[in-house]
Amino acid sequence: MSIPENLKYTKEHEWLSVEDGVATVGITAFAAESLGDIVFVQLPDAGSTITAGEVFGEVESTKSVSELYAPVSGEVVEVNGTTSDTPEVINSDPYTEGWLLKVRLTGDVPDLLDAAAYAAHTQEN
């Protein structure tokens, strides 16, 4: 299961990459694999705000529905439209083409896991 070294992770199986105060957010390959083939993604609109720890959307596979928890607080500046037309991109390419949101951070970035810590976390589950 791929876990890129250059990203940060949450225990809820999301990944983040922060650059110039904007975080790109997605779900990990581990999460995508556990869900199965993703057929639907519900994301907030650009311009809305999300709050760390709160639900900001959901992903559905054929068999299940999972809520997405915001890893950071901020304003949504961009939503990956590709994921609504072809949600399978989240399975095939979760870390690049399958990103979900770009969020302009308000406040601090909370403590996140590095790749090694996240790998250990997935072993426990």
Partner: protein
């Protein structure tokens, strides 16, 4: 600790993801459940169904036992043919839905759902009392492998001595598949043509491998329970625990046709079922078609003008049709195809339309 079928090691080798199903560790998918679903619709899929129960009834009164124990007319099934039927409790509630194969004049095979294996085996063991017949639960030593899809005939035809042209839908025949003795049945739960092969559990891994090898050039792939569920849903087939429960009679599930009051003699549940068959059922099983991609799922409420009028029993985004489909029970007044309803999808109200079942029929 979940039970494992004799094919567990084979599934592991194929990289299966497992799920606990009715106390069994079963493959939920090998790679992509959508690809597996598509393969069954367009080519073929190979399923391990060894978790299902195989209970044999033999003896002079084998037919009489089943006519007493089940709601169908099993005496009327010719040797070599099979029948979809149900077993009810004395109150007329459905204990399980079954496929019963008549193998000979005095030999039947009852196939029950894994989740009801014990209930069915216990009920049959109790109901055989006083009859000249023997109930023999061979579930532990019997494996069941299904080959389902439009290429199933071609695939099986190359490896068996059986005359597949002569083997009709809902028929079975003892056959040899490259030296393996099987009961070869033309039955399934996918809405496609296909076969189910009952074989000694010890021989299942070798049989699986040879079927996979014979089928791969035709597009056959190993297929898990995730796609089995979406396949049967598209075909409008009920699943015990979702569309069927002990609280319902076959009539309330819209399957009253399986109850054969015209057969002679008493059967378990007869009096209660005669009563229940006369009453208008409060809710009717229907098909639903949704808009968008968001699927109504098990337990979601159906609404008209904000008032609850029904509940979804199974639902998914249909891989074949590309839109959400579901089965549900709704108040009689809202059961006509074309009726517009709303469904509460986790707090969002979405429109759905009542449609006829099945959603999908093979060409």
């Amino acid at each position: 600790m979940s039970k494992e079928t004799s094919l567990h090691g084979v599934h592991k080798g194929l990289g299966a993801l497992f799920t606990d199903f009715a106390g069994w560790s079963m493959p939920v998918r090998y790679a992509s459940e959508l690809a597996e679903h598509k393969a069954v619709r367009e080519a073929a899929g190979l399923f391990d169904l060894s978790h299902m129960a195989e209970i044999h009834i033999t003896g002079k009164q084998a037919a009489d036992v089943l006519d007493y124990a089940l709601v169908g007319n099993l005496t009327g099934v010719k040797p070599g043919r099979a029948r979809y039927t149900m077993i009810c409790n004395p109150e007329g509630g459905v204990l399980d839905d079954l496929v019963v194969y008549r193998l000979a004049d005095e030999h039947y095979l009852v196939v029950a759902n894994a989740g009801n294996a014990k209930v069915v085996a216990d009920a049959l063991a109790e109901r055989v009392a006083g009859f000249d017949a023997v109930v023999d639960d061979r579930s532990e030593t019997t494996a069941l492998i299904a080959v389902q899809g439009p290429k199933a005939v071609e695939i099986l035809g190359a490896v068996t001595d059986a005359d597949l042209d002569a083997l009709k839908y809902y028929a079975s025949v003892p056959a040899s598949v490259k030296g393996h003795d099987v009961l070869l049945a033309r039955t399934g739960y996918t809405g496609e043509d296909g076969f189910e092969l009952f074989v000694d559990a010890d021989e299942a891994p070798a049989l699986w491998r040879l079927l996979l090898e014979a089928g791969e050039p035709h597009g056959l792939v190993p297929a898990g329970l995730a796609c089995r569920d979406t396949l049967r849903l598209e075909a409008g087939m009920p699943l015990y625990g979702n569309e069927l429960t002990v609280d319902q009679s076959p009539f309330e599930a819209g399957l009253g046709r399986v109850v054969k009051f015209e057969k002679p003699g008493d059967f378990v549940g007869r009096a209660a079922l005669e009563e229940r068959s006369k009453q208008d059922v409060p809710r009717v099983r229907v098909g639903l078609k949704g808009a968008g991609r968001r699927a109504p799922r098990h337990g979601y409420e159906l609404l008209v003008d904000g008032t609850g009028i029904g509940e979804v029993t199974s639902g998914a985004l249909s891989p074949t049709l590309g839109y959400p489909i579901a089965m549900a029970y709704v108040d009689r007044a809202y059961a006509e195809p074309g009726t517009e309803l709303s469904v509460d999808i986790r707090g969002r109200i979405e429109p759905v339309e009542v449609v006829a079942l099945p959603f999908y029929s093979r060409a």
